[in-house]
Amino acid sequence: MKEDPQLFDYWPYENRPKIEWPNGAKVAFWVAPNIEFYEIDPPLNPHRKPWPRSNPYVAGYSIRDYGNRVGHMRQMRLLDKYNIRGSISLSAALCEHHPEIIEMCLERNWEFFSHGIYNTRYTYGLSEDQEREMILDAFSTIEKHTGKPPAGYLAPALSHSPHTLDLFAEAGGIYTCDLFHDDQPTPVNVRDGSKFVSVPYSLEMNDTIAYVVNKIEPRYYGKIMRENFDRLYKEGADSGTVMCIPTHNYQISCPHRIRAFEETLEYITGHSDVWVTTGKEIADYYIENYYDSSREDIHRKSGDAL
């Protein structure tokens, strides 16, 4: 094991070449609904327990099911209202379990990116061949059910190996949501040398992190999302920033929380210089217009690092 995953090089935020988003937008804004399936009784991975108690863990399993049974329609309705196409972080097995949800998202031309097979199957402990098999399985499942292979990856339950991004790039992916080192897209070093990028997907703005880990009150979550946006919007005039709201239908769509989300979407989409887009569109645009110049700038500034 090395001290640095060697996925990205140090690259100071100040004095970077400016990113100009389409139509002069200051911020590229995207919403990433995680549409997940958690198994009630998955095979045990020795590195991480799926549930804190013995099966059946009713509380944990059933609230996640709430997201699909109840929450999805609420969130989809709001995204429709504010003309936002979701970029779905998808447990690929949901294509088989709940094809109705896939169908509705397809009708809306939402993006589907890979979030593994199930959120109860972790990368930990898999051999490289096993991990490749899981990644390719999700690839082909998503392609079969949506007509397109996924461009992006958020590893299932954010569980990684040292090869995760290499394997995903080799499968044909172009972006990852697994890194939280920047407010702009950045090149990621992958072993096949392909143009592979990190698209900012915020852990801080993630509803599950906000509600379950940080235990934030709903309206306060709305407030910090708007403050996050305000700063990225202001700075975006000079730098070109990305803001993502990663959501879960079992968090954001609960009756006591959906108001905070709606007020935030209304606020953000009420600004003129916002590119409301998807993860893949950000990755494509960045690779097309800024990947090479970013690489050159990074190279120039890496100095004599030891």
Partner: protein, 309 residues
């Protein structure tokens, strides 16, 4: 390094759920539910009246609200008992003031230990449902079925005897179940249970002994979840319930009747600095002309009637 090949095998990867307990069904795909007088929102105030024994075994885990200090944990034992001695009488006054029809989920040990309280509830005529034996008599995955059968049987028989009611509803202590709990409940003539939080409306739950109804008792809106688990302020509790109430009324206008379920604990909201917050919530919700305050089984009956028509 690699894992056993079963880690990449998916025997349940097919349409619907990965178990056979209930059918996959999105809320919006179901027929609209009509409540009496065409009300939009059924208000289910569910009071959990609990006994935490001081000789807690904590097996296989300590429940939420359970004792955490070395024996004898007087501070938590007595703080929970505060609810049964003081808090619940504040609750009753508040309910009456705002014409709320509460439902009481009793640990059977509470009914056995406090005849005054069970007699009072009997006299009021409020619905009583069974919340298991006590908070240290947990149901859990892998539990011996005979042990659990005895637990279910004893808690229901005794509560039925002491309450004089049929007692057709159930909430497991800490909402924890074994793989057999639903079967054992049907075996003991339970009609509905409230452990699963995957829906905002009732739905049919299958067991080997026949069907149960899963009633939607929100955990996210529970007083102890918001205040104790999430450590939000009392004012935020009020705000969250009122926001949920507004949202559900709006949704019901379009999609048919909804349920606002408030699971509350006398040891939590019955404190002097919190009871006013509960009253604020009750005042707000009961002031809405769209709201119908009812017991759990009244809501279930009206739901069944509406679904059949």
């Amino acid at each position: 390094m690699s894992l056993d090949k079963n880690i990449l095998e998916y025997p349940k990867r097919k349409y619907g759920m990965d178990h056979d307990r209930y059918d996959w069904s999105m809320l919006t795909d179901r027929p609209k539910v009509i409540w009496p007088e065409n009300k939009k929102l059924a208000l289910w105030v569910n009071v959990c009246v609990q006994f935490f024994p001081i000789n807690q075994k904590g097996k296989p885990f300590i429940p939420s609200g359970g004792l955490t200090m070395p024996y004898p944990d007087l501070r938590h034992y007595s703080l929970r008992e505060y609810g049964n001695r003081v808090g619940i009488y504040r609750f009753l006054k508040s309910f009456d003031e705002y014409s709320i029809k509460p439902t009481f989920a009793l640990n059977t040990r509470v009914a056995e230990r406090y005849p005054y309280l069970i007699d009072l509830l009997k006299e009021r005529g409020d619905e009583i449902l069974c919340h298991g034996l006590h908070m240290d008599a947990l149901h859990y995955g892998g539990q011996d079925i005979d042990e659990e059968r005895e637990q279910v049987n004893r808690s229901l028989d005794k509560l039925r005897e002491l309450s004089g009611q049929d007692v057709i509803g159930w909430i497991s202590p800490d909402r924890s179940e074994s793989e057999n709990t639903p079967e054992l409940l049907v075996e003991n003539d339970v009609k509905y249970f409230c452990d699963w939080v995957n829906d905002d409306m009732p739905y049919q739950f299958k067991t080997k002994n026949g069907e149960l109804v899963a009633m939607p008792l929100s955990q996210e809106l529970e007083d102890s979840f918001i205040l104790l688990n999430n450590k939000h302020t009392e004012d935020s509790y009020v705000e969250q319930i009122c926001d949920a109430c507004d949202f559900l009324i709006d949704e019901a206008e379009e999609q048919g009747g909804r349920i606002l379920s408030l699971n509350i604990h006398p040891w939590m909201l019955g404190q002097p600095h919190r009871i006013g917050k509960l009253e604020k919530v009750l005042e707000y919700v009961s002031s809405k002309s769209e709201v119908w305050s009812a017991s759990a089984s009244e809501i279930l009956n009206e739901y069944s009637r509406s679904a059949d028509s």
